[in-house]
């Protein structure tokens, strides 16, 4: 990645508090390249129209672009069919749809659902609710000290009653990358469904759903250079055919009678109401942008950055780093004696944007024995200079609080 890539993100050109913006909150949301902004703008300026029903020219154009976006996303994650790509609001919507559907149609009383304690709340609460709804038992794969899990433990936690294994591909706090292909194989051997939260993996590394062989994969557009409010649920076609929709209304029906109705085929039966057309078009532009760089190259770049960051951060006195050695581009840490909120405020005055808090992972915070942490997360436009600025700002935070306190 080079300066030419960076220049395509207009927001990064600004100064914050008198310093060039260093944006390190990419696990929360990513910035948008001009190409994405232009695609959305062009849709509204040139062919804004509803999809799937217009006979008129604009309606046809909008439908073509919307369904074209579906095909681009299919290619991006190598799904077999475009009909396996359901557009929705984001990862949370996708995981809720799957958990709700499986709770009603697949999980029976006394069955088991297997997750981990490091899930984002959006891949944890839906399963708590599914367990309650179906009378099932929620089980947790034990975590190793470094925040990884072991395949042996997954295998050991499986039983004939295990119906679902749900896991993030990449932890949004620790950056742990789970071996989903192997976990999916274990799940399938025991007759369970494999559900993957791909919010932190799909934007950052090559993800091939056929290779992973997961049954469902949910991710968000806004974390991968696309706009907010658009997300994707991938599901194997046989599963999408089997699951009932959770929202009913326009766009998703075949025939409506007075007392009963029939649904369209997937994916449309899950897309009731006017969809986020501009969002899907923006997401397709983001996919093209990522493909033009190559996901291998994006991944390599972030690996170099995170390794450089870990190497530099380790030398900061009083820092505690959480998570495994091998990880995605996420570094979560605390500075001794300084609350992460205070750290983030000092960093912000230096133009460095990081996240502080529990990162929607309260059970994981409990496991780490902290109430909150600071987190820096990288993307393709970040540079080693950004890492240097982070380290300098942390030293400034230590000085400020050391001085103020001492």
């Amino acid at each position: 990645m080079n300066e030419d890539v960076r220049r395509q993100f207009p927001i990064l050109a600004q100064e914050v508090n008198g310093h060039r913006l260093v944006y390190l909150d990419n696990a929360a949301t990513s910035q948008k390249p001009q190409a994405v902004i232009d695609a959305i703008r062009h849709y509204y300026e040139a062919y804004n129209s509803n999809v799937h029903r217009g006979v008129h020219t604009l309606g046809n154009k909008a439908t073509e672009a919307y369904e074209g976006a579906r095909e681009e996303v299919r290619r991006f994650i190598n799904a077999r069919h475009a009909s396996e790509i359901v557009f929705n609001r984001g990862t949370t919507a996708g995981l809720n749809l799957v958990a709700r559907g499986l709770a009603e149609q697949w999980i029976r009383s006394g069955d088991e659902i297997l997750i981990t304690q490091m899930e984002h709340h959006s891949n944890l609460i839906p399963w708590q609710q599914a367990a309650k709804r179906a009378g099932a038992v929620l089980k947790y794969v034990p975590l190793q000290a470094d925040g990884t899990i072991q395949l042996d433990d997954v295998e050991r936690m499986m039983s004939p009653r295990t119906k679902v294994v749900a896991m993030a591909h990449v932890s949004n706090v620790l950056g742990t990358v789970h071996p989903i292909r192997e976990i999916a194989a274990i799940a399938h051997r025991h007759g369970a469904v494999m559900v993957v939260d791909g919010a932190q993996s799909v934007p950052h590394m090559p993800v091939d759903v056929q290779e992973l062989d997961c049954d469902f994969l949910a991710f968000s557009g806004h974390k991968m250079l696309g706009p907010t409010g658009i997300g994707v649920l991938y599901g194997k076609l046989e599963w999408l055919k089997r699951l009932e929709p959770v929202e009913f209304g326009g766009e998703m029906i075949d025939f409506v009678e007075l007392y009963d109705s029939t649904w369209k085929e997937p994916p449309w039966k899950f897309e009731g109401g006017t969809p986020n057309i501009a969002g899907a078009i923006g997401l397709a532009a983001a996919v093209r942008f990522l493909e033009s760089l190559g996901m291998e190259a994006v991944h390599r770049h972030e690996q170099q950055l995170v390794n450089y960051a870990l190497e530099r951060l380790r030398k900061v006195e009083g820092i505690e780093l959480y998570g495994p050695k091998e990880r995605a581009g996420i570094v979560t840490f605390n500075l001794a004696g300084i609350h992460p909120h205070d750290v983030a405020t000092v960093l912000d005055t230096e133009g460095v944007a990081v996240r502080a808090g529990h990162h929607c992972a309260q059970p994981l915070m409990k496991w780490l024995g902290v109430t909150a942490t600071a987190r820096a997360s990288f993307y393709l436009y970040n540079t080693e200079e950004d890492v240097d600025r982070l380290v300098e700002a942390l030293i400034r935070a230590k000085e400020f609080f050391g001085h103020a306190i001492g």
Binding site: H341, D342, T345, M365
Partner: protein
């Protein structure tokens, strides 16, 4: 935006040497626990009224410098005040940290926290202990009314 505007000397002093931190001895007053769910800050507040006045107050918990300093300063500020005065002070404090300091009211040391208004994400840190105090007083008042 200057760090010194937020982290004033008196704030750092309260953060470093919190007043009224811990638990009341042989407590028979009211106890409230409040959390700030967005950041995991947590405060436990114990409060005892005598003849309608805050006779004793202590806090404990975890949080950032702003939330802990604000809690410490709050306990100092309301000690000895009657319920009405304490509730009124809380309102004045909220105005202060939202950037609208009340006219003609001397808030003493609390005014050091006015800088929080320039850091919107931190306003909730500053108000957590005050919300706990308000809730404690209201519950006490309700409890008394029920007697």
């Amino acid at each position: 935006m200057q760090l010194d505007e937020l982290y004033r000397r008196v704030i750092m002093d309260h953060y470093q040497r919190p007043r009224n931190r811990g638990k009341l001895d042989g407590h028979d007053g009211i106890q409230i626990e409040l959390n700030n769910p967005t950041c995991g800050d947590r405060i436990e507040l114990q409060l005892k009224l005598d003849d309608g006045r805050v006779e004793a107050i202590r806090f404990d918990g975890e949080g950032c410098s702003i939330s802990l300093a604000s809690a410490s300063m709050m306990t100092e500020a309301v000690k000895g005040k009657d319920v009405q005065e304490a509730l009124e002070l809380a309102q004045h404090f909220y105005q202060l940290v939202q950037g609208h300091p009340p006219d003609g009211v001397d808030l003493g040391d609390l005014e050091a926290l006015h800088g929080v208004s320039k850091f919107p994400a931190r306003i909730k840190c500053a108000t957590l202990a005050w919300k706990a105090m308000e809730q404690a007083l209201r519950e006490t008042a309700q409890g008394n009314a029920g007697k």
